[in-house]
């Protein structure tokens, strides 16, 4: 056991390679014709990976710098629409669009973050929420975004001469993006920038007194989070082939928020767990019709009651409140 632990500490990358290799197995089985994995399941897997990255990008903002952004759907929409417009009208390649959409979304993120720098807490939430709604409404009415009709026939990306139309190919796109995201983010979090973000979350006054330029780092945090939301939005548009404004409502933003809170804010695995749970739940309960949302809602509430820090979250973190646990005692005292 101890040798295993030792190995884990020293050669962590081996484990990561192992996990990645395992993740590659299902689509490869299908591609090589060994076993016919249902396309539907592969689509679910794609969805999970996509939402995991999207939730991860929100987690950067909410979980690591402690700002409450509710408008991630807006950044997602910017990415998706940029991709859709540029690829259908100008035929720009998907691979060029990926960073481009990220930058476009990051730019909007910067614009949103500027007014929010002077704001805190709930003021910031309403601004991000408002911005997300504005983006959606403009997408719904402007002619360049296809209005209420949306944009159809977004070309699939080409991968080594292969049309990535089938989910088993698209699987790899999401996998690579997800891994890239995790890789960059984990490296940033272990650096000066990541420490600055976390210090802002923990105590803004102290961070300022240590020379952390809070406005700059909050802005940077927003831009970085928005960037990845844009990138994943860009990958989303060809995946579903058709986008319209109703895919980017605030409810979508709340869904993503629910994922990170269920999974655990401020952890890297949290969004992945959250995304898997929410996606599997909403897909597998599809036969229940409207009732599945009722169950989903109940699970969110139950989660907040039983484990507010999320499944992967640490009990003793600022995001769990620390105080929640002590609550019952206090209540007894108040009653007496």
């Amino acid at each position: 056991m101890s040798t295993l632990k030792n190995l884990w500490q020293k050669k962590r990358w081996i484990f990561w390679l192992l996990i990645i290799a395992l993740l590659c197995v299902p689509p490869l089985l299908k591609i090589l014709g060994i076993y016919k994995v249902k396309a539907l399941y592969l689509r679910y897997a794609c969805n999970i990976m996509m939402y995991a990255t999207l939730a991860g990008s929100l987690n950067i903002i909410n979980g690591y710098s402690g700002q409450t952004c509710l408008g991630q759907a807006g950044f997602f929409a910017i990415g998706a629409y940029t991709c859709a417009i540029l690829s259908t009208r100008f035929g720009v390649s998907f691979w060029v669009l990926l960073p481009l959409c990220g930058l476009a979304s990051g730019l909007i993120g910067l614009l949103v973050s500027l007014p929010t720098l002077r704001l805190q807490g709930i003021y910031l939430s309403i601004v991000t929420l408002g911005a997300s709604e504005i983006i959606r409404i403009i997408a719904q009415t402007a002619s360049i975004t296809g209005g209420a009709m949306g944009i159809k026939g977004i070309p699939y990306p080409w991968l080594f001469g292969l049309d990535a139309f089938r989910p088993e190919y698209y699987y790899f796109i999401f996998l690579v993006l997800g891994i890239l995201f995790l890789f960059c983010t984990s490296r940033i979090l272990n650096s000066r920038v990541g420490r600055a973000w976390i210090s802002i979350r923990e105590d803004q006054v102290a961070a300022k007194s240590l020379g952390v330029r809070t406005s700059f780092y909050k802005s940077l945090n927003f831009v970085y989070g928005a960037f990845w939301a844009g990138v994943i939005g860009c990958a989303y548009a060809p995946f579903v082939n058709f986008i319209e404004s109703s895919q980017f409502t605030t409810d979508k933003g709340f869904d993503v928020l629910a994922m990170i809170v269920i999974g655990g804010q401020g952890t890297l695995v949290g969004p992945i767990i959250g995304s898997a749970i929410v996606t599997v739940l909403t897909e597998s309960l599809r036969f229940l019709g409207v009732w599945r949302y009722v169950i989903y809602a109940l699970i969110i509430i139950a989660m907040m009651w039983l484990r507010p820090q999320g499944i992967a979250g640490a009990t003793n973190s600022i995001l769990a409140g620390g105080k929640v646990k002590r609550k019952p005692q206090k209540r007894k005292g108040a009653a007496a």
């Binding site: 300022k208 020379g211 809070t214």
Partner: protein, 267 residues
């Protein structure tokens, strides 16, 4: 005394005022902290000591007057800029990153001495590696010096009050500035801890730090400071050496009221 006059002035306040609406929290205070000082600021509760510190570090804007650091005007700068270039401080009510380990706390203190950005972090550039090495090395050095090396992986909130104060000082040291502003560093410490803190501060001073300290513990102040500023109701009532402060009538009155023979209590 004359020896002190020869040393250059580090932090200087010229007629500094702070008004909160009609309340004159700090009124026309002059101060000169010279390099190598342990400069004490004392005064009864509500005398405006912390407000004065907050103005020095840019947390409150100055209503009137000027604050200079080695001739640079700090009055227009904000907290981050002052912390980045000139002054490190601690807080009266401990402002630690409570859910982070001691080492992480100190590492954040190294922020201003390092310069790697987002891309350095992603590609692990040379600057990133240098920065990380510097940060880790520096933090561990400071922790060794302050005697918290064994607690480096403990969550800050799990430490005792006295140790948390020390972590805060360690964090401020990591900024590597000439001057440290300590706001009631001995509050909540037991006598032994206070004693060791006092020795530590003297040691720091010998190592080249200039220190300004607000404290209520008279023994602490009288034994460690070489210069003391006394504030009362926002006004400077006296400045001088510990001996002079002890003997000053006005200071005694501020602390004990008029007509009281207070000499003994201060000894």
């Amino acid at each position: 005394m004359s020896e002190r006059e020869n040393r250059p002035v580090l932090l200087e306040a010229q007629g500094v005022c702070k008004y909160f609406g009609g309340l004159k929290a700090v009124e026309n205070v002059d101060m000169q902290i010279r390099e190598g000082d342990i400069f004490g600021i004392i005064g009864p509760n509500g005398a405006g000591k912390t407000t004065f510190f907050n103005m020095c570090t840019g947390m409150y804007p100055v209503t009137k007057g000027k604050i200079l650091f080695e001739g640079n005007d700090l009055t227009k700068l904000n907290t981050e800029e002052i912390a980045e270039k000139y002054i490190a401080r601690t807080f009266q009510n401990i402002q630690l990153f409570r859910f982070m380990t001691v080492l992480e706390n100190v590492k954040i203190g190294c922020h201003v001495q390092t310069h790697s950005n987002l891309f350095d972090a992603i590609v692990h550039s040379r600057r990133y590696r240098q920065d990380e090495e510097y940060t880790t090395q520096k933090s561990l050095d400071i922790l060794k010096r302050i005697g918290l090396y064994d607690y480096r992986d403990v969550k800050a909130s799990n430490l005792s009050y006295g140790m948390q104060r020390k972590v805060e000082i360690a964090r401020a040291m990591a900024l590597d500035h000439k001057i440290l502003l300590l706001d009631e560093p001995a509050a909540g410490m037991n006598p032994q801890e206070t004693q060791s803190l006092m020795e530590f501060i003297k040691q720091l001073n010998a190592d080249g730090f200039t220190i300004a300290v607000i404290e209520h513990d008279m023994k602490f102040i009288m034994n460690s400071c070489n210069r003391i500023l006394v504030l009362n109701f926002g006004q400077k009532i006296f400045e001088g050496t510990p001996q002079e402060v002890k003997e000053n009538r006005e200071v005694q009155e501020a602390y004990f009221g008029k007509g009281m023979v207070a000499g003994e209590a201060l000894k």
